[in-house]
Symmetry: C2
Subunit: 151 residues, 2 copies
């Protein structure tokens, strides 16, 4: 874990830097304390609210191959409770990332599928996961080192 010298970015591309710079001051800094009314309208916060939802990304990934029914989705994700699955799906549906279709079987079955917006979201998500699988070894090593020192 070498420390970068400020102003000497080795890894981040100029383009990526540009994107980040746009977000950096998007919230915070310069508000009177308590006047944060517009944090909710900030796109970054908005995504992070969805991404930071622990289950949402997992659900999107589970739907990436094919549409799935509620119970299949629960099996696929593995350790999500019905409660949270329902709740997360509702949010994803509300945000237009996932569609919900009820089939009038008895008992009725419900199929969830990605919308085109949901498919589009998976592109950057795939990038993230791809990075993750590559970095996982390094992260595990860093953790081991940290734990050895600081308990």
């Amino acid at each position: 874990m070498t420390r970068e010298h400020p102003g000497n970015p080795v890894v981040l591309t100029p383009a990526a830097r540009e994107v980040l710079r746009g977000f950096s001051r998007n919230s915070a800094a310069g508000f009177a304390p308590g006047a944060d009314a517009n944090l909710g309208a900030c796109p970054v916060r908005d995504v992070l609210a969805r991404v930071g939802d622990k289950w949402s990304l997992l659900i999107l990934v589970a739907l990436s191959e094919q549409p799935r029914r509620f119970s299949a989705l629960q099996r696929e994700v593995g350790d999500i409770s019905k409660r949270m699955l329902t709740q997360s799906l509702r949010m994803l549906e509300r945000d237009g990332l996932v569609s919900r279709q009820v089939f009038p079987t008895k008992p009725p079955s419900v199929e969830y599928a990605l919308t085109s917006l949901g498919e589009a979201a998976l592109v950057p998500v795939a990038g993230l996961l791809h990075w993750a699988s590559g970095a996982h070894e390094q992260i595990r090593a860093a953790r081991a080192a940290y734990d050895a020192l600081e308990g």
Copy 2:
């Protein structure tokens, strides 16, 4: 929000699909109930635990321009409590994404900076944010539509 026909992906590139396919069955499916001991070792879960930490990404972005001290970081992020800032920074440090350096001023000041691993993480994160800012309008529209129908 058009619904995609299964097997007819318009948006997701073959490469991205490949990545996702690798993760899709990574957990769940096929375990006896309660035998999910290895979910913790799964790279996807690992990233999502960090990404899903609401604050971690925000902190990484706040550090993307330059190293910052604790209190500067708190101002930059805007609405994070000291408690969560400390906690998130510890995790990021443990995972090797952020470095922590104490300067022996009085009172001592502490500077946090991205490691090279942290810089690398920002590449896919920037991709995500970039997508987010483009999709934000669509998401807001979808929300409005949903709320109009389903209250």
